[in-house]
Amino acid sequence: MNLTVLAVDDSRTMRDMIRLALVQAGFTVHVAEDGINGLEVLEGLEPDAIITDINMPRMDGFGFIDAVRAQDDHRATPILVLTTESAPELKMRARNAGATGWIVKPFDPIKLVKALQMVAG
């Protein structure tokens, strides 16, 4: 199924890898390099799911999720958080900010696709 995904990460490598994994799975991928840029790209876009990093310049992942959830259109858009830490408190923080789920970096492309399908169909 063709999902449209917005991926926000400040690392070009990570963006490339996400894009590669998802394009191979037939997804449409939009990328942004930080929270602010992510909100700009989100404008006029109706992604089936959003992936975001936490540590980013200008606006971090928590701020980005907050801002996305504040938009009526995206109250229920699934948001997956990319995190290197598997520490429970970070997951909780992400969830409190409104994240749907999380993906622990380094991610396996197949699992990333699967996780997206899990939350976004």
Binding site: N2, D16, L20, G26, R75, T84, R95, V113, V119
Partner: protein, 707 residues
């Protein structure tokens, strides 16, 4: 891995490029921290740089890199959250860790053996900063959201059931979402569908709590589900489906004791009931869709999008553009000789062509240009290492990091510059005690600057040390037989002795700069780049080495002149003006040494024809044309020529490969008519032929150096 078609190899390569950028940001950030930058964003940038390197390294399984970056990151996180205030020593360690991180990155990139010992030592140091906190090792954790086996569940399950050997477990799952489940964008429908994908499922919706329409609050969850799942999975796999909603729902999972229930449920699957509305169960693994999605256009937002190009291709382009310039020159020459009117279409078109050629040339040169920043950062590392080796506190101050220079020049500057920086730290700066005694700060300063100046790049290495001990230099030179013992040398000439092969001032050879490489090697390296190096030194104040380089190694704006029937090219940027001499302009100081009066000042005259050996020395300069040139060091000179042909761009063709380095000759070029002309290096000519200076033996020594 080297397969160019492999997209992962591409990304891996771009990861290492990104690493270089991150390492640069890391260096910058640390420098700012060192300068007492209170900005919280600075430590964030530093942290993120290490964090991103770790993230990427994890993706490529570079475990040593991940391990080191993780520990480094942990310490930085302490700083970030104000639990640790880095002192001078800690910052020094951060710099070392950054250096080591870049070593690791490069070792990983080039598949070189990793410097494990340094890693271990630095990790220990970092741990000390953390104090007693014990840090768990990071395990590259796998994310296991779904325990889906790749077999089609239905088929294999049925087979198993038929065998009857191992009855498929049957689970009953009660699932009641809480408000927060919806708030975080989770969707029961998805969860149920994922659950159905595990095996045969029967889903029923419990609408018992659903109030009447009047009392219904649309955002309050009322529904609950009961799922009877027959699947060869364990409880953990079922829980994994609910991983994201753990704590956001009530979830009871029980295994049915009665295996008899299995066949019932395993009967040709009644699709889960409408309340869950799962649609058609999709295959558990995504089928790679051939209709690849269009790439996002938003990538264009990135201000620094980069294309990697093989350097060879650029070289080819540069050469082709060089040919284009020559071709264009030939064309304009033949059109001119065809006697076309300057207002004809052909001539107008040619003018446009000329402009385009120049634009193309500039653009191509820009591709090769890089800021010297990366080079400077390498030097700051050299300073750190060198100062640690000789036990001096040294601070490197850099300026003009964004000055752009041809990539080849940058690469070939690294070695000579390294040597000069080491020299500055080792020999240039005094010991802390000596500095204190002479009223200086204990911390020595080395200043590294780059700037564009009159079409060239000028790089300076300056220290605030003791300056050159000229007495000692002269003694050494005499002892080594480089100059006669009765030589009388000016300060500049003594300073220049440092560049003689076989000269080394260090009374004792330290393990740092005394490696048998002298300043003569530095000078040769600079000259091979078409550059010059000079020294200015003041006792007790310090020494400054100035390197002046051409912006590019490929083209030159030149003035084409005639000398004794030969066509020569001079770099246009040194030419200040042209004069026609009359007899009263010229004053003879003594035979062979003349000066010309220019605007109230006197400028020495150099007879190019004689200096290059084309003809005997002139005695009468009346009616001659001279080019007044001004050099980087502020010296002015008047070069006598016979005539000026043109100003034009010429393509530089190196001679060093085929010939020896001729004094005064920088390179050659091919002119529009196919004729070959030599490109002169005026500063070199004048340095080698000083009619004004005292012609003693030391001068011959210097000339030998150029030869």
């Amino acid at each position: 891995m080297s397969d160019p078609m492999d997209p992962m190899a591409e990304i891996r390569a771009s990861f290492f490029i990104e690493c270089e950028e991150l390492l640069e940001a890391l260096q910058d950030g640390l420098n700012q921290l060192e300068d007492g930058g209170e900005d919280t964003e600075t430590i964030n940038v530093v942290f993120r740089a290490v964090h991103s390197i770790k993230g990427g390294a994890g993706a490529f399984g570079l475990e040593a890199l991940v391990r080191f970056a993780h520990r480094y990151e942990t310490v930085l996180d302490e700083v970030r959250s104000n639990r640790l205030v880095p002192d001078h020593e800690a910052l020094k360690l951060f710099f070392q860790a950054a250096d080591h991180l870049s070593d690791l990155v490069r070792a990983c990139r080039d598949d070189q053996p990793l410097p494990e010992e340094t890693s271990a030592a630095l990790l220990d140091e970092l741990d000390k900063l953390l104090g007693d906190q014990t840090e768990e090792e990071v395990q590259p954790q796998d994310f296991t959201p779904l325990g889906v086996s790749l077999d089609l569940p239905g088929l294999s399950d049925l087979d198993d059931a038929a065998d009857g050997s191992d009855p498929i477990p049957c689970w009953t799952i009660h699932f009641k979402p809480a408000f927060e489940l919806y708030e975080t964008g989770n969707e029961p429908q998805m969860l149920l569908r994922n659950l159905c994908a595990l095996g045969e499922a029967e889903v029923s919706c419990d609408i018992g709590e659903l109030p009447g329409l009047l009392d219904l609050k649309p955002e309050t969850p009322h529904l609950a589900w009961t799922i009877r799942l027959t699947a060869d999975v364990d409880e953990a796999e079922i829980r994994a489906v609910f991983e994201f909603v753990e704590g956001l729902c009530r979830l009871d999972i029980t295994r049915d004791a009665d295996p008899a229930a299995a066949p019932e449920a395993a009967a040709p699957a009644p699709m889960p009931d409408a309340a869950a509305e799962p649609g058609d169960p999709r295959p558990a693994t995504p089928s790679p869709a051939p209709e690849a999605a269009p790439k996002a256009g938003s990538a264009g937002n990135s201000s620094k999008s980069v294309v990697r190009v093989d350097l060879e291709r650029i070289e080819r382009l540069v050469n082709l553009v060089g040919e284009l310039v020559i071709n264009q020159a030939m064309l304009s020459q033949s059109l001119e000789s065809a006697g076309l009117s300057p207002h004809s279409d052909a001539m107008n078109g040619l003018e446009e062509f000329q402009r385009l050629t120049r634009d193309i040339q500039d653009s191509v040169m820009m591709i090769r240009a890089q800021p010297v920043k990366s080079l400077f950062q390498r030097m700051s590392r050299i300073v750190r290492e060198a100062s640690a080796a000789v036990g001096k506190e040294v601070r490197l101050i850099t300026d003009g990091e964004n000055t752009e220079v041809d990539k080849t020049v940058i690469e070939r500057l690294a070695d000579p510059l390294t040597h000069m920086i080491r020299n500055a730290v080792d020999h240039g700066l005094e010991t802390a005690e000596a500095r204190k005694a002479s009223g200086k700060t204990e911390e020595g300063h080395v200043r590294l600057t780059a700037a564009h100046r009159s079409g060239r790049v000028v790089i300076e290495v300056a220290d605030d040390g003791g300056g050159i001990d000229r007495q000692k230099v002269l003694e050494t030179a005499v002892r080594k037989g480089l100059v006669p013992s009765d030589a009388v040398l000016s300060d500049t000439e003594i300073d220049n002795l440092l560049f003689l092969p076989g000269f080394s001032t260090a009374g004792k050879v330290s393990n740092l700069s005394g490696r048998g490489v002298g300043m003569d090697v530095v000078k040769t390296a600079i000259q091979q780049l078409g550059g010059r190096i000079s020294i200015a030194s003041e006792r007790h104040r310090g020494t400054t080495f100035t390197i002046s380089l051409p912006l590019t190694l490929a083209v030159l704006d030149g003035m084409v002149v005639d000398v004794a029937g030969e066509t020569l090219v001079l770099p246009l940027n040194v030419v200040v003006e042209t004069l026609s001499l009359s007899s009263e302009d010229v004053q003879m100081l003594r035979p062979g040494a003349n000066v010309v009066r220019v605007r109230g000042g006197f400028v020495p005259i150099y007879d190019l024809g004689a200096m290059l050996g084309y003809r005997p020395v002139r005695t009468d300069f009346t009616g001659c044309i001279v080019l007044l040139i001004s050099l980087d060091d502020g010296h002015r000179a008047a070069l006598v020529i016979d005539g000026i042909q043109d100003q034009r761009q010429v393509v530089i063709k190196g001679l060093d490969d085929s010939f020896y380095r001729a004094p005064g000759i920088a390179a050659a070029t091919i002119l529009g008519d196919g004729q070959i002309a030599l490109i002169l290096d005026p500063a070199d000519i004048i340095a080698g032929n000083g009619p004004i200076r005292v012609p003693d033996r030391s001068l011959k020594e210097k000339r030998a150096d150029h030869g």
